[in-house]
């Protein structure tokens, strides 16, 4: 993919990366997630009103609910619905491929890569639809991640296929679709609690990583800042946002990538199994995962996994979304300004990065959250006009269920893509000092998150 404003002519003092301005609306994944997610919602509602819900239900087909016990049953399903699956593939190609192409992707790379991804996703759904899948802990998010990791590191896929393995594009679109089943009233009542809890934990975690890194291990304060943001706010995206604020080096981001990816993968596996061992309420576990994971994609993988283990994915996803998306993601612009201010006013001249600019709060604001809130408000308004009987009998199966299925597809695309893009041989080695600074922060983060989510606010998160 080509990236505008990524390299510039150093012969001009004014040659610095420019803001996209209005182009942001079609050159950023966040906005494409908003357009696609809201469009799908409007399509589902519009077809419902026109008596055409069978169209969106057909587009949302998946074998995950089959509960098949023989290969014959599975084969029958696919042979009877082969045309629908083909239409669905074309539907996804047009939706995601169109946006990717406008952002700069090569369709020659995207199309074959996405077809490969789609086939793997169908296999994931088929596994999830096996009657004994739960008994063998074959939770689709974990299976997708592990299969992707194996393929990427054993089969050595060509790098050009990464054009189609768009982790953030898929998860952001899924989060907007999630808004359709997320009452806006819950955001308004539980959002402030999530923000307060997440902010306390983020600040403490960031300070621990920064001061352990600089005072005990004597690492470069720019690296400590990048690691602090990565571990406390939202992973590599936060690290990159802060990197320019503190004039960080490329190698600092490499260190953050390795540590964040490493720990995120560990947490995807450990948090669900730990939650199950402690029999945590799904809502409580979701809140804990929300402050313990580093990236939305990894967090949703962990949350979905535990949700399936506990038999209540909805509760885990809701509290995770409140804690991570509302409680942490929203504030990335403010963290960027805080670090820029510190680097400019407190650190020595010559080492400071960019000047604080209040516009960073908007420029770096995760726009997909706007889509999530709009989807939530829109669906809350739409469904509010129905009686309970009509809602259960007509709206849920014809509008909400297809949207949930479409969202699940985007999540599976995302989880597969995490594995398929994680080539361990490409990750840079990390020195023991940054490793321990970050890992001590992770330990503090997980323990503090557990105390607040399970002990202090446990009854609250169990009741949302």
């Amino acid at each position: 993919m080509t990236d505008p404003a990524q390299s510039w002519d150093e012969s001009s003092e004014e040659a610095r990366p420019k803001h996209l301005g209005w182009k942001e609306f079609y050159r950023k994944e966040d906005w494409w997630a908003v357009w696609l997610g809201i469009a799908l919602m409007v399509l589902a509602i519009g077809l419902f009103e026109a008596g055409g819900s069978n169209i969106v239900k057909a587009l949302a087909i998946n074998p995950g609910g089959l509960k098949w016990s023989s290969f014959g049953q599975l084969a029958d399903h696919f042979s009877q619905n082969a045309l629908l699956y083909f239409y669905q593939l074309v539907f996804w190609l047009v939706l995601f491929g169109g946006g990717a192409a406008i952002m700069g992707a090569s369709l020659k790379e995207f199309i074959p890569g996405f077809i490969f991804l789609y086939v793997l996703a169908v296999i994931m759904f088929a596994i999830a639809g096996w009657a004994n899948a739960a008994a063998f802990n074959l939770e689709a998010p974990l299976v997708a991640l592990i299969l992707g990791l194996v393929i990427a590191n054993v089969a050595r896929l060509p790098k050009w296929m990464d054009s189609a393995f768009r982790v953030e594009y898929f998860i952001k679109t899924g989060i907007v679709l999630l808004g359709a089943t997320f009452p806006i009233t819950l955001v308004l009542t539980a959002g402030p609690v999530a923000i307060a809890q997440a902010t306390v934990i983020s600040i403490i975690t960031c300070l621990v990583i920064f001061f352990v890194g600089t005072r005990i291990f004597d690492i470069d304060k720019r690296l400590a800042a990048v690691l602090g943001a990565g571990g406390a706010v939202c992973g590599v995206s936060a690290s990159m946002a802060i990197a320019a604020s503190v004039n960080a080096k490329k190698e600092h981001l490499y260190t953050s990538v390795t540590l964040v990816v490493g720990w995120a993968l560990v947490m995807i596996v450990v948090l669900p199994f730990l939650s199950r061992a402690m029999a945590l309420h799904p809502g409580v576990a979701g809140a804990w995962i929300g402050t313990s994971e580093f990236a939305d994609a990894a967090g949703f993988a962990a949350a979905s996994t535990y949700g399936k283990m506990a038999g209540n994915e909805d509760a885990v996803i809701k509290s995770f979304t409140l804690m991570k998306v509302i409680g942490r993601d929203l504030w990335i612009g403010i963290w960027s300004i805080v670090f820029a201010t510190i680097a400019t006013l407190v650190w020595e001249k010559g080492e400071s990065g960019s000047r604080p600019d209040a516009r960073e709060i908007w420029w770096r604001f995760p726009k997909f959250v706007i889509g999530f809130l709009v989807a939530s408000a829109l669906m809350t308004a739409f469904t509010g006009s129905f009686s309970a009987a009509d809602f259960s009998g007509r709206v849920r199966p014809n509008v909400l269920a297809p949207l949930v299925s479409l969202r699940t597809w985007t999540f599976i695309f995302c989880f597969l893509s995490i594995g398929l893009t994680t080539r361990f041989r490409d990750l840079h080695a990390v020195g023991w000092k940054p490793f321990w600074a970050f890992s001590i922060g992770v330990a503090v983060n997980v323990v503090l998150g557990f105390i607040l989510s399970v002990i202090v606010f446990g009854s609250y998160w169990a009741s949302i």
């Binding site: 993919m1 080509t2 990236d3 404003a5 990524q6 390299s7 150093e10 003092e13 610095r16 990366p17 996209l20 942001e24 050159r27 950023k28 994944e29 966040d30 790098k159 768009r166 982790v167 953030e168 594009y169 952001k172 939202c234 992973g235 590599v236 995206s237 936060a238 990159m240 946002a241 320019a244 004039n247 960080a248 080096k249 490329k250 190698e251 981001l253 490499y254 990538v257 964040v260 990816v261 580093f294 990236a295 994609a297 990335i332 010559g350 400071s352 990065g353 960019s354 000047r355 604080p356 960073e360 420029w363 770096r364 604001f365 995490i418 893009t421 080539r423 490409d426 990750l427 840079h428």
Partner: protein, 46 residues
């Protein structure tokens, strides 16, 4: 280009996300800059 310049960036992040803002990579000094970054002191000296 940024995703190819920084291996692993696309695993749990993206060069196309809003969080990146207009952060770019100066390949000469291998450091991150934005439009608000002060002019390179080495450039001014040269």
């Amino acid at each position: 280009m940024l995703e190819r310049a920084i291996a692993g960036l696309n695993i749990l992040s993206s060069a196309y996300g809003s969080a990146r803002g207009n952060t770019g990579l100066c390949e000469r000094h291998e450091s991150f800059v934005t439009s608000a970054t002060p002019a390179c002191p080495q450039f001014v000296k040269e």
